[in-house]
């Protein structure tokens, strides 16, 4: 990034403007689209674009936790998102994305692991969420969190039944698939700090290269903060921190509603499909 580009972005920020035309505390518009198979979602925030795919398979539970299923999230960024990412190694920023998603979703028990147990100690469901990054324009933490939680809500696993000591996994046609029990919907919102005490929400690639520090708040609709990460750079008063949490809560409510609405639309489309006969198309 050239020094004049840095100066350009910084001077725009200093009089409350951004290259993308957004206000300082305005996040990018979220576009969400569910794919063909269950648990497939594509998230677009401005130029940032990624796909999350949730899948499940039967596996053996951990010895020290026989009553819980397994839940795995992989967030490897390939050089498709941008040549700055190497296919093999993980840079520090990618590590922070992985760690924050881990804390936001896995550590905050968004997915109830006990509901994944089939036969305690013998067999359980292993749910894995794979995030594939197609385009990088900053904001990977926020977009990944939304993508994984939306994919978990959209996913349906095959139903199982026990007969004697055998567990039968029914195919999707034999028995209607079972949704996962998602206990709450954590949403990440990231702030970026710049020189002269400038704070910006949802930075894009140029802003993320120029920023000196960042802060990420994960909160769900019922005002529970799932994780809070602010390490250094601009000090904030308690008042400012609470304000940011309120702002994050607003954004979380807005995104959670959008996800549920899109889920409803997708659910209707799916059911109208396999109802076997054409509903009277009442085009209101």
């Amino acid at each position: 990034m050239s020094s004049i580009e840095q100066a350009f972005v910084q001077s725009l920020l200093e009089d409350q403007k951004r290259v993308s035309g957004r206000r300082l505390n305005e996040a990018r518009k979220l576009e969400l689209a569910f794919g063909g198979s269950y648990g497939h979602v594509e998230v677009k925030m401005g130029r940032t674009r990624l796909v999350a795919q949730v899948s499940s398979q039967v596996a053996k539970p951990r010895d020290d936790r026989p009553f819980e299923g397994l839940f795995l999230i992989t967030t490897d960024v390939s050089s498709m998102a941008s040549p700055r990412f190497e296919n093999g190694r993980q840079t520090v920023d990618e590590l922070m994305v992985t760690r924050l998603i881990e804390k936001a979703i896995r550590r905050s028990n968004a997915l109830d692991l006990e509901s994944l147990c089939i036969v305690a100690g013998q067999s359980c469901w292993m749910v894995r969420a794979d995030v594939h990054y197609l385009e990088y324009d900053g904001g990977f933490i926020d977009a990944s969190c939304i993508a994984v939680i939306a994919a978990l809500l959209h996913f349906r696993r095959p139903d199982t039944s026990i007969d004697g000591s055998r567990t039968i996994v029914h195919t999707l046609d034999e028995r209607p698939p079972v949704p996962l029990s998602v206990l709450h919907v954590p949403i990440c919102v990231s702030w970026s700090f710049f020189d002269n005490d400038i704070i910006v929400v949802d930075a894009d690639e140029a802003e993320q290269d120029l920023r000196i520090g960042s802060m990420t708040i994960t909160i769900n609709k019922d005002r529970d903060i799932c994780q809070f990460t602010k390490a250094g750079k601009i000090p904030l008063s308690s008042q400012q921190i609470i304000e940011c949490c309120e702002q994050a809560h607003g954004r979380a409510r807005e995104i959670t509603d959008l996800i549920h609405e899109k889920l409803k639309q997708d659910f209707e489309k799916r059911n109208r499909g396999n109802m076997g006969f054409d509903l009277a198309e009442n085009d209101r």
Binding site: V92, L95, M96, T98, R99, E102, K103, R107, S108, N109, G213, M215, I219, R223, D224, I225, C226, Q227, F228, T229, K230, A231, G232, K233, P235, L236, S237, S238, I241, I242, C245, E246, H249
Partner: protein, 243 residues
Amino acid sequence: MSRFEIYSPEGLRADGRRWNELRHIKCGINTHSKSADGSAVVEMGASKVVCIVQGPQEPETRSRVREKATLSVSVTVAPFSTTERSKHVTNDRRLQEMSANLQNLFEEAVLTHLHPRTEIVCSLTVIAQDGGLLSCCINAMTLALIDAGLPMYEYVSACSVALFDQTPLLDPNNVEETELASVTVGIVGETDKISLLILERRLGLDRLPPALELGVEGCKVLRQVMDKEVRRHGAMRLASRAE
């Protein structure tokens, strides 16, 4: 451990402290004078962290030569640091994240522009873990950097606060930290403004403000304790030099 035992109605915690009492703090400065430019050991209750600072020195790899001093932090945890001997070293991703957070926090406090093209290597070793690990690391690093004579704007002090329903509990030990959600607060200098805030478990938004206030107060007290320790150590050295 039923919740009753953690905080009794009379306001007493499991280890007998009140809600706003820090654990006993023991700071050792210049503990490894031979092997490091600056060294410090901080014990907060049963949590103990040793910090060794080398630098400012010639950077190891060419890539770290910049207009400002490069701060490289690494945290290692001794396998005997927790009660149950951890078979595998705690996943290094959590430690890498902690090192990144420490580096961000101290880049703000250390006058790195005074030593261009050098590197400051801080290696923290966790000897014992009994809650408040990150705050113990921060305090140890502050003392070690001061001992190394590195120019800093201010002390960086940190402490953690757990939340038992509405009442915040200052400087939780391991038991309180596993049962309750706890937040780590880091302050640079004597302001009320928070530089570092790390929360890793679910906590209601409305229960955060009291925790922040108590955290800020705790940090201020800790700053005094550290300052007194630095002065006491300084006085002792000057006294021996003066003879």
